[in-house]
Symmetry: none
Subunit: 176 residues, 4 copies
DNA sequence: GATGAATGAGGATTCATTCAT
DNA sequence: GATGAATGAATCCTCATTCAT
């Protein structure tokens, strides 16, 4: 049931502005009563946080099973940009929850997701022989996040070309 | 009076989560009545948008007067990171308004600010002899925006070091 | 609960000027919370419309069960005038809602009530052998509505006498 | 200036729902400031009442100069129905002000207009040899007012035909 | 006479959340 | 486990009116 609610909520949150979604609507959409939502999720904030984890997992968990090589790096960059391009509403939802959490002082949440990804990328870049792997990883992630945001309001953004430059940047930091 | 309201609202918005600020509070803070706020600003959304423009102007308008050279580039990067680091609430406010506008379908707003900055940076990079100046400018901006967001939840982020890497990246794209 | 709200709202609306009644007051009067009112009625307009139907039903639904003869006609005329005389606040409420709906372009509402009554009266007058029954019915209704309004500001209006003349008018249109 | 305001307000009030008109709009429409409106009219209510008198005068004052005969009666009936038909917004405005005044307990206003017209019609009907001239006049006025209201939501109403019946009714009350 | 900036009371509406069933 | 009726705090916004200039 929990999963059913999450799945239907995800569909809802990737179809319209998150601020405009009420518990009423989530319940109706999931085909259950409002009470049931509150039975499974402490409150709206909790539901949205759980939904963020759920959706991040859904779209990015594959990464952690990949080998730590150049191919994977490329895959990550391409995929991240593709998701942003193809699924703006999803990107919006992610930023919506992040913002809410961070602005209200709860940084742990974002922190954890950031740390996980940073650790993986740092190791990957290290294995690739990149100089200052952690700093490079941070910048890489920042670039991807920044571009994801831009793609929300610049429809003509050529993410393939941008992807190339980003990869060039990383590879250019290879120690000889 | 308009300015007085904006100035006091800016103080308010850089002191607490934007979602928690009511028109009531803005009025009280400015020492005027609610009606006065609505006399100068059509509605809350309008006030917040105007406040965004006002604050962006305040912090970034100096850029457009600078010469288009390497020094300016460095100044921009340093300053942008410094603002984010020193003034997280301001950064939050900016993202709050952007998000609101973009998510509700009004992309023109973000678009205009983006275009202005992009144009300036592209010319600057061009003058510096950078390859693919526009694409590079986009990535540069994305990096700065991404890092600004990260600094909101990673207090130990060393923005000076990151600034160095970013500058290296740009300069590394110099055509020989 | 819906009924309870309507019943208490009707009492309120027949006790003071409709323009002066707030949702707050309606809720307090019904002994429920404001939220409950909005749970059962989409908005204030909807509540007032429903209340109009509810009260019209309450006072006039008996008509449609009556035989279509001269006696009924007399009963209708007498009753309509008596309601206006005895219950000016109710009459006011009716005109208040009608006006609101019509002025805002929603004529369907008034139209339906008008059509129902017109159909019944037309058939009744037809059965009574009245010439031009539909037109006569329209005029009859107009007279009753007009007099109802007058009784709001002419307390000394002798509605019995007026009723006599109205009935004379109708009967005078009998085909020989 | 007073006249200028009234004239422009009348244009406004006959172009949109009266409830939707603010002092701001009236002022803008008249090309003066809000303060000026309040200089010439004590408050909004006063402005609307004065506007009612002004417009009634404009459309009906001719009556009192007419001879008291059958021709005039016909002219009055035809004209009253024609105004309602051609100028629904004006009719709406009249009922809007009447309603406001009466509902808030101020019946004198409506009363005076009613009395003036009643006196004239009573004398006219008397001169025509009509039985119970005052009662007949009241009913005649009620009919015209009722039909005026109906014409607001029944566009296909044939006011000419109705006018004929109304005149028949009055003339039928001639003492032989 | 004329202005328009400033007021602030007042009202509708939303919606997360609770809880008896 | 599941429901949905009931709550009430929170908030935006409107607009007639005032008054210093």
């Amino acid at each position: 049931m929990r999963e059913k609610i999450l799945e239907s909520a995800l569909r809802l949150y990737t179809s319209k502005p998150p601020q405009s979604i009420s518990m009423e609507e989530i319940a109706k959409n999931a085909g259950v009563s409002k009470g049931t939502i509150f039975y499974y999720f402490k409150n709206k904030n909790n539901l949205e946080s759980e939904l963020l984890s759920y959706s991040i997992e859904k779209y990015f968990s594959w990464i952690y099973g990949e080998p730590r090589d150049c191919k994977t790096l490329e895959k990550i960059v391409r995929k991240a940009l593709k998701i942003a391009k193809d699924n703006p509403r999803l990107t919006m939802f992610w930023y919506y929850v992040f913002e809410k959490e961070i602005f209200s002082g709860n940084t742990q949440f974002a922190r954890q997701l950031y740390d996980e990804m940073l650790e993986f990328l740092t190791l990957l870049l290290e294995d690739m022989g990149i100089d200052k792997p952690e700093q490079t990883a941070i910048i890489l992630m920042a670039m991807l996040d920044g571009i994801s945001i831009y793609s929300l309001f610049i429809p003509e953004l050529d993410v393939d070309e941008i992807g190339n430059l980003i990869l060039e940047f990383v590879k250019g930091r290879c120690k000889r």
